[in-house]
């Protein structure tokens, strides 16, 4: 009797107290209970937001799912995700400044996740296994010329090949690779890494013509006859300092010096060598000098904070014994009577901001300072050589002018890397190449794309970016996370060559992490803005209105019962639940 009533009472009559089933069963309503969702003022929704690492990465790596796959020990999936956006993960895993690590919300919570270490690990782990992130698309009837084989040129070739285009790379030097080959020392990037990644790109059907100098071996007119052209000839022209004595014997250029080092054609040097400049080239020069047994002294006109070199590079240069002098600008280089050079510097101070927004060095009072040395190496930046381009190519501030998609003033010609006005890093070069490759594909297909916001990632262009839930393009900040659920960070791991060995050889400084280490590292990712199925929403929902989807890949809210209490949002560790006011009827 009681059972019957409990499961299906007759709602049309009123029972007296003897007839009511014992136990306060609600009579006359759905056995599933009142649809408490009617009471809702606020509507929590499962969403996906942008993790700051992904936003921080200049080349648009798909970092969050990559870390998740590593945490779940699915290295192959992670490898494909990585390769989809970047053919140079072995190079980037070593020489990229990893702005992703800088952006990591963990940074102030025990230390960033070492995305650099994860990237490097995958590239090394899959040394013999080329990735096939996507099936190369069917062959397109367009041929594209790429000028220059640095990261930008080779990456552009890679992305174009992925999309089915025929690509020929023209390189004036005898070997492919650009700056990573001739400008980055071995202790940062062993050349076999670069060679292997270039070989993988060539194996996709990309042709390469080395030792082919545009203007000498082939005319620019020939190049422009291709269906599409990507210019990426970099910036190699040393800029003069404009001070007396800079052409004296014993004064070298940083870029030139690094090339000679890589070709093992090092000129005879004395003990004490002055290096002028605060960028990565200056650091590479100084650290190479240490390895060659010399004593470098860096002269920089601003301070430690303003140095354009990567933070880690400066740290390591200091550790290895480089001497630094700040707020000094070279005024002249003098020849000493007997032997060697003397650098005359004026004292500087920082006042106001320059055009780039950096504090501006201006001369300060006080006597000039003099440094004596055997040689001086000037590493104060290079500019692009645009002399081979016809006049129809618009120029801007010494770079090739491009529109937001990377297109030059000649419609079928695109450009990227150091010869355009972009930060001079490998990551930015690859990013500019990817954007141009996507733009070229649209250009050939006749799409009207110019006025649209440039597409920066392959996943977006190929429609692989299928979010499990609604996507809100907001970057997740630490205050969006529930930090009480943030477990303490294990001490970040890194393996470096012992200092005494670093000071003696060009052996790689950073070593790779082990599988166990990368898994542990990945598992400490806070998964900012992306549900990691922790089930807090499910467990805390007082109405049982949160349920796992049938596919088991996300949580769903049953709005028949969700009262809009927003406890789920409050307890979500990753900030992936968004609350909106309920629309009024």
């Amino acid at each position: 009797m009681a059972d019957l009533k409990a499961s299906g009472p007759d709602v049309l009559r009123l029972y007296d107290y003897k007839e009511l089933p014992i136990g306060a069963v609600a009579i006359g309503i759905d056995p599933f209970g009142r649809k408490t969702g009617l009471w809702r003022y606020h509507r929590p929704e499962m969403v996906e937001k942008i993790p700051p690492c992904q936003e921080g990465c200049p080349l648009g790596n798909w970092i969050q799912p990559l870390i998740r796959e590593i945490a779940n020990e699915n290295f192959e999936e992670a490898w494909d995700i990585l390769k989809l956006e970047n053919p140079f993960s072995g190079v980037c895993g070593r020489v990229c400044s990893h702005l992703c690590d800088e952006a990591c919300n963990r940074k102030e919570l025990g230390g960033s996740i070492s995305i650099k270490g994860l990237e490097r690990f995958l590239a090394d782990h899959f040394w013999d296994k080329p990735s096939h992130p996507v099936q190369p698309q069917k062959a397109q009837k367009k041929e594209i010329a790429v000028l220059g084989s640095g990261p930008a040129g080779m990456a552009c070739a890679y992305f174009l090949a992925l999309m089915g285009y025929g690509v020929t790379v023209f390189e004036s030097k005898k070997s492919l690779g650009g700056i990573p080959r001739i400008g980055i020392p071995d202790y940062r990037l062993p050349k076999k890494i670069l060679e292997k990644e270039i070989k993988d790109i060539l194996s996709m059907g990309v042709e390469a013509r080395t030792g082919c100098h545009v203007g000498k071996d082939i005319s620019i007119g020939e190049i422009l006859k291709f269906d599409g052209v990507f210019l990426s000839t970099g910036a190699h022209v040393e800029q003069p300092l404009g001070i007396p004595g800079e052409n004296l014997n014993g004064v070298f250029r940083g870029w030139d010096f690094l090339q000679k080092c890589n070709l093992k054609q090092i000129p005879p040097l004395g003990k004490k060598i002055l290096v002028i400049g605060g960028g990565n080239v200056a650091m590479d020069v100084a650290r190479s000098l240490i390895r060659l047994g010399h004593q470098p002294i860096i002269i920089y006109r601003r301070t430690r904070q303003e140095m354009p070199a990567f933070f880690e590079e400066v740290e390591e240069a200091m550790e290895e014994g480089t001497e630094f002098h700040f707020l000094l600008a070279p005024v002249a280089i003098h020849r000493r009577k007997k032997k060697g050079l003397r650098l005359e510097c004026s004292r500087m101070k920082l006042r106001g901001m320059d055009e780039s927004g950096r504090p501006m060095p201006v001369p300060a009072k006080g006597p000039h300072r003099y440094f004596e040395a055997d040689q001086v190496i000037i590493a104060t930046g290079e500019r692009a050589d645009l002399s081979y381009l016809p006049e129809e190519f618009k120029r801007q501030n010494g770079s090739v002018w491009i529109n937001p998609w990377g297109q030059t003033s000649v419609p079928h010609v695109f450009s990227g890397g150091d010869m355009t006005d972009t930060p001079r890093t490998v990551a930015h070069a690859i990013s500019s190449a990817k954007r141009a490759a996507i733009a070229m594909d649209q250009f050939f297909k006749g799409n009207d794309f110019i006025k649209l916001t440039p597409i920066q990632t392959m996943r977006e262009y190929l429609g692989l970016n299928n979010h499990r839930v609604e996507y809100i393009p907001e970057i997740v900040k630490p205050q969006d996370l529930h930090l009480a659920y943030c477990k303490p960070r294990e001490i970040p791991v890194s393996h470096k060559l012992p200092l005494d060995q670093r000071q003696r050889s060009f052996k790689e400084v950073n070593k790779r992490l082990s599988s166990e280490e990368v898994i542990r590292e990945a598992q400490q990712c806070l998964s900012c803005g992306v549900c990691k199925l922790c089930s807090h929403c499910y467990l805390f929902c007082p109405d049982g209105a949160v349920q796992l989807s049938p596919e088991g890949d996300r949580y769903l809210i049953n709005y028949d019962y969700c009262k809009g209490c927003n406890i789920c949002q409050n307890e979500c560790p990753v900030g992936a639940i968004h609350v909106r006011p309920e629309k009024e009827d």
Partner: protein, 392 residues
């Protein structure tokens, strides 16, 4: 066995085969929880021990577990019980025969870990059956009786067994454990026939009623269950005697009241001391008796009214108070006796609050004081705070 009241209670729970045990620690109850956790850990008790973050949740878990048909036990004290207050109504309203041990602890502020009965008596309106016991043996036995009372289909209400913290909970006494086989006969497996949650039979328990269509009917059902408990409690006590040979008197226990002119009425551990006083004064020729009140809910109104009809004076000795009204038992007794033909004089002694020690001599003094007043028409100061320093 020599056991503290807490351990005796825990053994009672184990022998009664509780299946789900959500408890939050609080002095002086904690030993019950610890001992039960111990039983579960060592495989001596096949139960789910649920660690919770508060007493409110402990009872919420008990409610959910009991609603699936599991025999459930929880325990608490003082502030913990007060914190459970909201859910006490839910448990009884859903007619869930949960058993809880209340190890009495006086309520703060000022804070103390020593006992009085105010914490439990305070919950009188929550529709829980409340039984007060006087020693470890009774605590042990009453856990088994409590399940049988609670699960009786005529009752189906949660039952609280109260005993005083420290005085009963922490001191060792000889306790005879119930025999498991005999107990299994006395207390069979809980097989509920009223509504029970099951995945195959989806239903909504304790749901909100948006109109007033059934609220009063459900409330009256509870009243009926409580009315039945008045009969069931003595029946269970008698059944227990037949199996185990021990008997506690059901709703209340009487001692030498047949010819008594004065009756001392009390509850909990005070009953032991008072019993000794009564025996001693009887030897001096005083016509004095004892009523140990056991069931406070349901309150044995009619039963007390009948038994006290020809008594000249009743002194209610109680370790509790409702500030502004008097002793809580006293108030209930007043309402029970109102309008009876030959009502006794009622004198209320509020004593031993916060665990203040009440000795043989204290009670003996009270008995003699009351005995002198027994023939008066009325008494001055019927509500008397006993031994408050500075109060004469």
């Amino acid at each position: 066995m020599m056991l503290t009241g807490n351990y005796a209670c825990a053994y009672g729970v184990k022998l009664s085969r509780a299946e789900v045990i959500p408890v939050y620690p609080i002095t002086p109850q904690t030993h019950i929880m610890e001992k039960l956790a111990d039983f579960v850990t060592h495989g001596e008790l096949d139960a789910e021990f649920v660690s919770v973050e508060s007493e409110h949740t402990a009872l919420a878990v008990a409610i959910a577990a009991q609603a699936t048909g599991a025999r459930t036990f929880t325990a608490t004290s003082g502030q913990g019980l007060v914190y459970m207050h909201e859910n006490l109504f839910v448990a009884s309203g859903m007619r869930l025969p949960i058993v809880m041990a209340i190890v009495n602890r006086a309520l703060g502020a000022p804070n103390t870990i020593y006992p009085d009965l105010s914490d439990a008596l305070d919950q009188r309106d929550t529709s829980w059956v409340q039984i007060y016991v006087e020693n470890a043996q009774e605590a042990h036995d009453m856990i088994a009786q409590a399940y049988r009372i609670a699960e009786d289909e005529r009752v189906l209400l949660p039952v609280a067994i109260s005993f005083e913290g420290i005085i009963i909970s922490h001191y060792m006494e000889p306790v005879e454990l119930m025999d498991q086989d005999l107990l299994d006969q006395f207390l069979p497996t809980y097989q509920p026939r009223h509504v029970i949650l099951h995945p195959d039979r989806v239903m909504s328990l304790g749901q909100i009623l948006m109109d007033d269509s059934y609220y009063m009917e459900y409330r009256y059902q509870q009243q009926e269950g409580m009315n039945h408990a008045l009969k069931v409690i003595p029946q269970v006590d008698e059944a227990f005697r037949q199996v185990f040979g021990r008997k506690y008197g059901g709703l209340f226990q009487t001692e030498q009241i047949e010819d008594a002119e004065v009756v001392l009425l009390t509850a909990g551990s005070l009953a032991s001391t008072t019993r000794a006083v009564v025996h001693a004064l009887r030897r001096d020729g005083m016509k004095i008796g004892l009523i140990k009140l056991r069931a406070f809910r349901p309150f044995p109104r009619q039963e007390l009214r009948e038994i006290l009809n020809n008594i000249k004076c009743v002194a209610v000795l109680e370790r509790d108070v409702s500030i502004g009204a008097g002793g809580i038992i006293h108030i209930e007794l007043c309402h029970s006796l109102y309008g009876s033909e030959n009502p006794p004089l009622l004198i209320n002694y509020i004593l031993g609050l916060g665990g203040r020690d009440i000795t043989f001599d204290d009670i003996s003094g009270i008995a003699q004081e009351v005995y002198q007043e027994r023939n008066r028409e009325s008494v001055d100061h019927p509500i008397r705070w006993f031994k408050v320093r500075g109060l004469t």
